[in-house]
Protein backbone atom coordinates (compact mmCIF):
# COMPACT_ATOMS: atom_id res chain seq x y z
CA UNK A 1 0.00 0.00 0.00
CA UNK A 2 2.83 2.28 0.98
CA UNK A 3 4.70 1.61 -2.25
CA UNK A 4 1.54 2.20 -4.21
CA UNK A 5 1.08 5.53 -2.51
CA UNK A 6 4.65 6.52 -3.21
CA UNK A 7 4.35 5.62 -6.88
CA UNK A 8 1.06 7.39 -7.12
CA UNK A 9 2.49 10.56 -5.58
CA UNK A 10 5.51 10.47 -7.89
CA UNK A 11 3.26 9.90 -10.87
CA UNK A 12 1.11 12.88 -9.90
CA UNK A 13 4.17 15.05 -9.38
CA UNK A 14 5.62 14.10 -12.76
CA UNK A 15 2.24 14.63 -14.36
CA UNK A 16 1.83 18.05 -12.89
CA UNK A 17 5.40 19.12 -13.64
CA UNK A 18 5.20 18.04 -17.26
CA UNK A 19 1.76 19.58 -17.44
CA UNK A 20 3.21 22.90 -16.41
CA UNK A 21 6.17 22.64 -18.73
CA UNK A 22 4.28 21.27 -21.70
CA UNK A 23 1.35 23.58 -22.04
CA UNK A 24 1.74 27.04 -20.57
CA UNK A 25 -1.78 28.18 -19.77
CA UNK A 26 -2.25 31.74 -20.90
CA UNK A 27 -4.19 33.56 -18.20
CA UNK A 28 -7.16 35.38 -19.70
CA UNK A 29 -6.73 39.10 -20.32
CA UNK A 30 -8.70 41.55 -18.24
CA UNK A 31 -10.77 42.24 -21.36
CA UNK A 32 -11.79 38.58 -21.48
CA UNK A 33 -12.53 38.53 -17.76
CA UNK A 34 -14.83 41.51 -18.26
CA UNK A 35 -16.74 39.45 -20.80
CA UNK A 36 -15.02 40.55 -24.02
CA UNK A 37 -16.87 42.72 -26.52
CA UNK A 38 -20.33 41.86 -25.19
CA UNK A 39 -19.26 42.26 -21.57
CA UNK A 40 -17.70 45.67 -22.11
CA UNK A 41 -20.67 46.79 -24.21
CA UNK A 42 -23.02 45.79 -21.36
CA UNK A 43 -20.84 47.46 -18.73
CA UNK A 44 -20.90 50.72 -20.65
CA UNK A 45 -24.66 50.48 -21.27
CA UNK A 46 -25.47 49.79 -17.62
CA UNK A 47 -23.02 52.45 -16.53
CA UNK A 48 -24.69 55.08 -18.70
CA UNK A 49 -28.11 54.01 -17.44
CA UNK A 50 -26.83 54.48 -13.88
CA UNK A 51 -25.41 57.88 -14.78
CA UNK A 52 -28.71 58.94 -16.37
CA UNK A 53 -30.43 58.04 -13.09
CA UNK A 54 -27.84 59.79 -10.95
CA UNK A 55 -28.89 63.32 -10.04
CA UNK A 56 -25.38 64.00 -8.75
CA UNK A 57 -23.84 63.96 -12.22
CA UNK A 58 -26.47 63.60 -14.93
CA UNK A 59 -26.27 67.35 -15.50
CA UNK A 60 -22.76 67.07 -16.90
CA UNK A 61 -24.11 65.00 -19.78
CA UNK A 62 -26.93 67.33 -20.81
CA UNK A 63 -25.28 68.22 -24.12
CA UNK A 64 -23.50 64.95 -24.73
CA UNK A 65 -24.04 62.72 -27.75
CA UNK A 66 -24.64 59.54 -25.74
CA UNK A 67 -24.17 57.14 -28.67
CA UNK A 68 -20.80 58.65 -29.45
CA UNK A 69 -19.85 58.58 -25.75
CA UNK A 70 -20.87 54.94 -25.43
CA UNK A 71 -18.76 53.91 -28.43
CA UNK A 72 -15.83 55.94 -27.21
CA UNK A 73 -16.05 54.47 -23.70
CA UNK A 74 -16.24 50.93 -25.03
CA UNK A 75 -13.12 51.53 -27.09
CA UNK A 76 -11.35 53.10 -24.12
CA UNK A 77 -12.17 50.28 -21.71
CA UNK A 78 -11.29 47.70 -24.36
CA UNK A 79 -7.92 49.39 -24.85
CA UNK A 80 -6.92 49.69 -21.18
CA UNK A 81 -8.09 46.16 -20.39
CA UNK A 82 -5.72 44.73 -23.03
CA UNK A 83 -8.49 44.08 -25.53
CA UNK A 84 -8.01 44.22 -29.31
CA UNK A 85 -8.72 47.95 -29.62
CA UNK A 86 -6.81 51.20 -29.75
CA UNK A 87 -8.54 54.17 -28.18
CA UNK A 88 -8.67 56.94 -30.74
CA UNK A 89 -10.56 59.61 -28.85
CA UNK A 90 -9.15 62.69 -27.16
CA UNK A 91 -6.91 62.41 -24.10
CA UNK A 92 -8.62 62.21 -20.73
CA UNK A 93 -7.44 65.72 -19.89
CA UNK A 94 -8.81 67.12 -23.17
CA UNK A 95 -12.07 65.15 -23.01
CA UNK A 96 -12.88 66.56 -19.58
CA UNK A 97 -11.39 70.03 -19.65
CA UNK A 98 -13.42 72.92 -18.24
CA UNK A 99 -16.34 70.67 -17.32
CA UNK A 100 -16.15 71.95 -13.76
CA UNK A 101 -15.78 68.45 -12.34
CA UNK A 102 -15.44 68.02 -8.59
CA UNK A 103 -14.05 65.13 -6.57
CA UNK A 104 -17.64 64.42 -5.59
CA UNK A 105 -18.69 64.03 -9.23
CA UNK A 106 -15.66 61.87 -10.00
CA UNK A 107 -16.52 59.60 -7.07
CA UNK A 108 -20.14 59.41 -8.16
CA UNK A 109 -19.00 58.28 -11.60
CA UNK A 110 -16.78 55.56 -10.14
CA UNK A 111 -19.68 54.48 -7.95
CA UNK A 112 -21.95 54.16 -11.01
CA UNK A 113 -19.33 52.14 -12.86
CA UNK A 114 -18.80 49.85 -9.90
CA UNK A 115 -22.55 49.27 -9.63
CA UNK A 116 -22.80 48.55 -13.36
CA UNK A 117 -20.18 45.82 -13.03
CA UNK A 118 -21.85 44.39 -9.95
CA UNK A 119 -25.19 44.25 -11.79
CA UNK A 120 -23.51 42.03 -14.37
CA UNK A 121 -21.84 39.79 -11.81
CA UNK A 122 -18.36 40.58 -13.12
CA UNK A 123 -16.08 38.83 -10.66
CA UNK A 124 -14.54 40.95 -7.94
CA UNK A 125 -10.97 40.50 -9.16
CA UNK A 126 -11.78 41.78 -12.67
CA UNK A 127 -13.83 44.63 -11.23
CA UNK A 128 -11.01 45.73 -8.96
CA UNK A 129 -8.44 45.32 -11.73
CA UNK A 130 -10.43 47.62 -14.04
CA UNK A 131 -10.93 50.19 -11.28
CA UNK A 132 -7.21 49.95 -10.55
CA UNK A 133 -6.39 50.79 -14.17
CA UNK A 134 -8.87 53.66 -14.26
CA UNK A 135 -7.98 55.19 -10.88
CA UNK A 136 -4.67 56.77 -11.97
CA UNK A 137 -6.54 58.59 -14.78
CA UNK A 138 -7.96 60.84 -12.08
CA UNK A 139 -4.97 63.15 -12.41
CA UNK A 140 -5.54 63.63 -16.16
CA UNK A 141 -9.31 63.97 -15.86
CA UNK A 142 -9.05 66.61 -13.14
CA UNK A 143 -6.13 68.53 -14.63
CA UNK A 144 -8.00 71.39 -16.31
CA UNK A 145 -11.15 71.90 -14.27
Amino acid sequence: MRTFCRIAVIAILIGSVSGCAGQPVASPSLYQRLGGETGVHDIVTNFLINVADDPRIVGYFAHTNIDYLAGSLEQYICDISDGPCTYQGPSMARAHQHMGLTDASFNALVDDLQNAMMMQNIDIGARNALLGRLAPKYSDVMRDQ
Partner: protein, 282 residues
Protein backbone atom coordinates in the same frame (compact mmCIF):
# COMPACT_ATOMS: atom_id res chain seq x y z
CA UNK B 1 -21.94 65.01 26.39
CA UNK B 2 -21.22 61.39 27.13
CA UNK B 3 -24.72 60.00 26.78
CA UNK B 4 -25.69 62.24 23.91
CA UNK B 5 -23.69 60.68 21.06
CA UNK B 6 -24.88 57.20 22.05
CA UNK B 7 -28.49 58.26 22.06
CA UNK B 8 -28.17 60.10 18.76
CA UNK B 9 -26.42 57.05 17.38
CA UNK B 10 -29.30 54.78 18.29
CA UNK B 11 -31.94 57.08 16.88
CA UNK B 12 -29.91 57.64 13.75
CA UNK B 13 -29.25 53.98 13.14
CA UNK B 14 -32.91 53.09 13.47
CA UNK B 15 -33.71 55.75 10.90
CA UNK B 16 -30.95 54.74 8.51
CA UNK B 17 -31.57 51.01 8.63
CA UNK B 18 -35.19 51.73 7.77
CA UNK B 19 -33.91 53.29 4.58
CA UNK B 20 -34.90 56.89 5.17
CA UNK B 21 -33.26 59.03 2.54
CA UNK B 22 -30.41 60.95 4.13
CA UNK B 23 -27.73 62.82 2.29
CA UNK B 24 -24.52 60.88 2.09
CA UNK B 25 -21.08 61.93 1.00
CA UNK B 26 -19.98 60.71 -2.38
CA UNK B 27 -16.67 59.10 -1.47
CA UNK B 28 -16.77 55.36 -1.88
CA UNK B 29 -17.73 52.99 0.89
CA UNK B 30 -14.88 52.33 3.30
CA UNK B 31 -12.73 55.28 2.23
CA UNK B 32 -13.36 57.04 5.54
CA UNK B 33 -12.24 54.15 7.70
CA UNK B 34 -13.99 53.91 11.05
CA UNK B 35 -13.71 55.96 14.22
CA UNK B 36 -10.59 55.01 16.16
CA UNK B 37 -10.54 55.10 19.97
CA UNK B 38 -9.37 58.72 20.05
CA UNK B 39 -12.20 59.97 17.82
CA UNK B 40 -10.27 60.42 14.57
CA UNK B 41 -11.07 58.41 11.47
CA UNK B 42 -8.82 55.41 11.16
CA UNK B 43 -8.81 51.85 12.26
CA UNK B 44 -9.52 50.93 15.84
CA UNK B 45 -6.21 51.94 17.38
CA UNK B 46 -4.63 54.39 14.94
CA UNK B 47 -5.68 57.43 12.98
CA UNK B 48 -5.38 57.04 9.21
CA UNK B 49 -4.65 59.49 6.41
CA UNK B 50 -8.30 59.57 5.33
CA UNK B 51 -10.92 61.86 6.86
CA UNK B 52 -14.13 60.65 8.53
CA UNK B 53 -17.22 59.58 6.65
CA UNK B 54 -17.69 59.95 2.91
CA UNK B 55 -17.81 63.72 2.45
CA UNK B 56 -16.00 64.92 -0.66
CA UNK B 57 -14.68 68.31 -1.76
CA UNK B 58 -18.03 70.09 -1.76
CA UNK B 59 -19.70 68.16 1.05
CA UNK B 60 -19.69 68.03 4.83
CA UNK B 61 -20.36 65.05 7.03
CA UNK B 62 -20.80 64.11 10.67
CA UNK B 63 -19.82 60.78 12.16
CA UNK B 64 -20.80 59.39 15.54
CA UNK B 65 -19.15 56.42 17.15
CA UNK B 66 -19.60 54.25 20.22
CA UNK B 67 -16.94 51.75 21.20
CA UNK B 68 -16.37 49.25 23.95
CA UNK B 69 -13.20 47.26 24.54
CA UNK B 70 -12.97 44.51 27.13
CA UNK B 71 -9.67 42.99 28.18
CA UNK B 72 -8.80 40.78 31.15
CA UNK B 73 -8.59 43.43 33.88
CA UNK B 74 -10.01 46.55 32.25
CA UNK B 75 -12.73 47.79 30.00
CA UNK B 76 -12.81 50.95 27.96
CA UNK B 77 -15.87 52.83 26.75
CA UNK B 78 -15.49 55.53 24.11
CA UNK B 79 -18.05 57.82 22.57
CA UNK B 80 -17.06 60.25 19.90
CA UNK B 81 -18.16 62.61 17.21
CA UNK B 82 -16.26 63.81 14.16
CA UNK B 83 -17.05 66.37 11.49
CA UNK B 84 -15.58 66.27 8.01
CA UNK B 85 -15.47 69.65 6.27
CA UNK B 86 -15.06 69.35 2.52
CA UNK B 87 -12.69 66.40 2.85
CA UNK B 88 -10.06 68.88 3.93
CA UNK B 89 -10.45 69.22 7.70
CA UNK B 90 -11.71 66.80 10.31
CA UNK B 91 -12.65 67.99 13.79
CA UNK B 92 -13.34 65.41 16.46
CA UNK B 93 -14.18 64.95 20.08
CA UNK B 94 -13.99 61.73 22.05
CA UNK B 95 -14.57 60.80 25.64
CA UNK B 96 -12.69 57.74 26.92
CA UNK B 97 -13.49 56.08 30.21
CA UNK B 98 -11.36 53.19 31.36
CA UNK B 99 -12.70 51.02 34.18
CA UNK B 100 -10.01 49.36 36.28
CA UNK B 101 -12.03 46.25 36.93
CA UNK B 102 -9.37 44.50 39.01
CA UNK B 103 -7.58 47.45 40.61
CA UNK B 104 -10.73 49.51 41.14
CA UNK B 105 -11.56 53.02 40.00
CA UNK B 106 -11.74 54.83 36.69
CA UNK B 107 -9.46 56.81 34.40
CA UNK B 108 -11.08 59.15 31.91
CA UNK B 109 -10.01 61.72 29.37
CA UNK B 110 -11.44 64.07 26.78
CA UNK B 111 -9.74 64.20 23.41
CA UNK B 112 -10.13 67.13 21.03
CA UNK B 113 -8.79 66.32 17.61
CA UNK B 114 -8.12 68.10 14.34
CA UNK B 115 -6.83 66.55 11.16
CA UNK B 116 -5.84 68.40 8.01
CA UNK B 117 -5.63 66.56 4.72
CA UNK B 118 -2.36 67.76 3.24
CA UNK B 119 -2.62 66.17 -0.18
CA UNK B 120 -3.64 63.14 -2.15
CA UNK B 121 -6.44 60.67 -2.38
CA UNK B 122 -6.58 57.18 -0.98
CA UNK B 123 -7.86 55.68 -4.25
CA UNK B 124 -6.65 57.83 -7.11
CA UNK B 125 -3.20 59.15 -6.26
CA UNK B 126 -0.03 57.08 -6.51
CA UNK B 127 1.15 58.16 -3.05
CA UNK B 128 -2.25 57.87 -1.43
CA UNK B 129 -3.59 60.47 0.98
CA UNK B 130 -1.54 62.19 3.70
CA UNK B 131 -2.82 64.12 6.67
CA UNK B 132 -1.43 65.96 9.64
CA UNK B 133 -3.31 65.67 12.90
CA UNK B 134 -3.30 66.81 16.48
CA UNK B 135 -5.04 65.35 19.50
CA UNK B 136 -5.32 67.44 22.63
CA UNK B 137 -5.92 65.09 25.55
CA UNK B 138 -7.11 66.14 28.95
CA UNK B 139 -7.59 63.75 31.83
CA UNK B 140 -10.89 64.32 33.57
CA UNK B 141 -10.85 61.42 36.00
CA UNK B 142 -8.02 59.60 37.76
CA UNK B 143 -5.45 62.42 37.63
CA UNK B 144 -4.31 61.51 41.15
CA UNK B 145 -3.50 57.96 40.14
CA UNK B 146 -1.56 59.21 37.11
CA UNK B 147 0.52 61.44 39.39
CA UNK B 148 1.09 58.66 41.89
CA UNK B 149 2.47 56.28 39.28
CA UNK B 150 4.90 58.93 38.09
CA UNK B 151 3.22 60.83 35.24
CA UNK B 152 4.43 64.43 34.88
CA UNK B 153 1.26 65.90 33.40
CA UNK B 154 -2.42 65.15 33.13
CA UNK B 155 -2.81 66.72 29.72
CA UNK B 156 -0.84 66.52 26.53
CA UNK B 157 -0.86 66.85 22.77
CA UNK B 158 -0.17 64.11 20.27
CA UNK B 159 0.84 65.23 16.79
CA UNK B 160 0.76 62.78 13.94
CA UNK B 161 1.36 62.38 10.25
CA UNK B 162 -0.72 59.64 8.65
CA UNK B 163 -0.80 58.19 5.16
CA UNK B 164 -3.27 55.76 3.59
CA UNK B 165 -3.28 54.09 0.20
CA UNK B 166 -5.57 51.54 -1.36
CA UNK B 167 -3.98 49.08 -3.77
CA UNK B 168 -6.51 47.72 -6.25
CA UNK B 169 -6.52 44.05 -7.12
CA UNK B 170 -3.61 43.44 -4.73
CA UNK B 171 -4.27 40.04 -3.21
CA UNK B 172 -6.46 37.37 -4.78
CA UNK B 173 -8.24 40.11 -6.73
CA UNK B 174 -9.02 42.01 -3.53
CA UNK B 175 -8.15 45.61 -2.69
CA UNK B 176 -5.62 46.18 0.06
CA UNK B 177 -5.59 49.28 2.26
CA UNK B 178 -2.26 50.18 3.83
CA UNK B 179 -1.84 52.82 6.54
CA UNK B 180 1.16 54.27 8.29
CA UNK B 181 1.14 56.81 11.08
CA UNK B 182 4.01 58.59 12.78
CA UNK B 183 3.01 60.01 16.13
CA UNK B 184 4.92 62.35 18.39
CA UNK B 185 3.69 61.71 21.92
CA UNK B 186 4.41 61.62 25.65
CA UNK B 187 1.20 59.78 26.51
CA UNK B 188 1.15 56.82 28.86
CA UNK B 189 -1.39 54.21 27.76
CA UNK B 190 -2.74 56.71 25.25
CA UNK B 191 -2.99 59.38 27.96
CA UNK B 192 -5.20 57.49 30.41
CA UNK B 193 -2.18 57.24 32.72
CA UNK B 194 -1.05 60.80 32.10
CA UNK B 195 1.84 62.18 30.09
CA UNK B 196 5.59 61.85 30.55
CA UNK B 197 7.10 60.03 33.47
CA UNK B 198 10.04 59.25 35.69
CA UNK B 199 11.71 57.21 32.95
CA UNK B 200 11.13 59.60 30.07
CA UNK B 201 9.58 63.03 29.78
CA UNK B 202 10.28 63.92 26.17
CA UNK B 203 8.26 63.52 23.04
CA UNK B 204 9.01 60.33 21.19
CA UNK B 205 8.21 59.36 17.63
CA UNK B 206 6.08 56.23 17.50
CA UNK B 207 5.07 54.24 14.44
CA UNK B 208 1.62 52.83 13.92
CA UNK B 209 0.66 50.72 10.98
CA UNK B 210 -2.21 48.67 9.67
CA UNK B 211 -3.40 46.77 6.66
CA UNK B 212 -6.94 45.89 5.68
CA UNK B 213 -8.14 43.61 2.93
CA UNK B 214 -11.53 44.35 1.37
CA UNK B 215 -13.02 40.87 0.97
CA UNK B 216 -15.75 42.60 -1.03
CA UNK B 217 -17.05 46.14 -0.98
CA UNK B 218 -18.50 45.89 2.53
CA UNK B 219 -16.30 43.50 4.53
CA UNK B 220 -12.76 44.36 5.56
CA UNK B 221 -10.37 42.24 7.62
CA UNK B 222 -6.99 43.36 8.82
CA UNK B 223 -4.38 43.83 11.49
CA UNK B 224 -3.13 46.88 13.33
CA UNK B 225 -0.05 47.68 15.30
CA UNK B 226 0.60 50.72 17.47
CA UNK B 227 3.96 51.37 19.06
CA UNK B 228 3.85 53.12 22.44
CA UNK B 229 6.27 54.93 24.72
CA UNK B 230 7.33 53.42 28.04
CA UNK B 231 7.76 56.35 30.41
CA UNK B 232 6.66 55.02 33.76
CA UNK B 233 9.00 53.18 36.11
CA UNK B 234 6.28 51.47 38.15
CA UNK B 235 5.15 49.23 35.30
CA UNK B 236 6.19 48.45 31.75
CA UNK B 237 4.04 49.55 28.82
CA UNK B 238 3.69 47.41 25.71
CA UNK B 239 2.75 48.12 22.12
CA UNK B 240 -0.84 47.46 21.09
CA UNK B 241 -2.00 45.16 18.33
CA UNK B 242 -5.27 43.83 17.03
CA UNK B 243 -6.95 41.72 14.42
CA UNK B 244 -10.13 43.33 13.11
CA UNK B 245 -13.09 42.81 10.88
CA UNK B 246 -15.29 45.70 9.78
CA UNK B 247 -18.72 45.39 8.27
CA UNK B 248 -19.60 48.50 6.27
CA UNK B 249 -23.34 47.96 6.23
CA UNK B 250 -23.92 50.99 4.03
CA UNK B 251 -22.57 54.52 3.71
CA UNK B 252 -24.13 55.40 7.05
CA UNK B 253 -23.62 52.48 9.38
CA UNK B 254 -20.63 50.29 10.15
CA UNK B 255 -19.77 47.76 12.78
CA UNK B 256 -16.21 46.83 13.70
CA UNK B 257 -15.06 43.94 15.84
CA UNK B 258 -11.52 43.16 16.91
CA UNK B 259 -9.38 40.84 18.97
CA UNK B 260 -7.06 42.96 21.08
CA UNK B 261 -3.64 42.32 22.53
CA UNK B 262 -2.75 45.36 24.63
CA UNK B 263 0.14 43.74 26.52
CA UNK B 264 0.88 44.87 30.04
CA UNK B 265 -1.21 47.70 31.52
CA UNK B 266 -0.32 49.19 34.92
CA UNK B 267 1.44 46.04 36.05
CA UNK B 268 -1.23 43.60 34.94
CA UNK B 269 0.24 41.44 32.20
CA UNK B 270 -1.21 40.12 28.95
CA UNK B 271 -4.33 42.20 28.57
CA UNK B 272 -6.25 40.50 25.79
CA UNK B 273 -9.87 40.69 24.80
CA UNK B 274 -12.42 42.00 22.36
CA UNK B 275 -13.50 45.27 20.83
CA UNK B 276 -16.79 46.33 19.32
CA UNK B 277 -17.46 49.65 17.66
CA UNK B 278 -20.59 51.00 16.07
CA UNK B 279 -20.43 53.99 13.78
CA UNK B 280 -22.97 56.21 12.17
CA UNK B 281 -22.19 58.70 9.42
CA UNK B 282 -24.41 61.39 8.02
Amino acid sequence: MRAKPSLMLLIGICGLLMGNPVLAGSRLLGTGGVMQIEGASGGGLSPWGVLAGTASDNEVGVTLGATRADVDDYHLVVSGVAANLYDRVELSYAHQRLALDTLGGHQAQDIYGAKLRLFGDVLYRPWGVWSLGIQHKQQVEGQALARVVGARDTQGNDIYLAGSKLFFDALAGRNLLVNTTLRSTRANQGGLLGFGGDEGDHRELMIETSVGLFLNSDWVVGVEYRQKPDNLGFAGEDDWRDLYVAWLINRHVSLTGALLDLGSIAGLEQQRGGYLSLQLSL
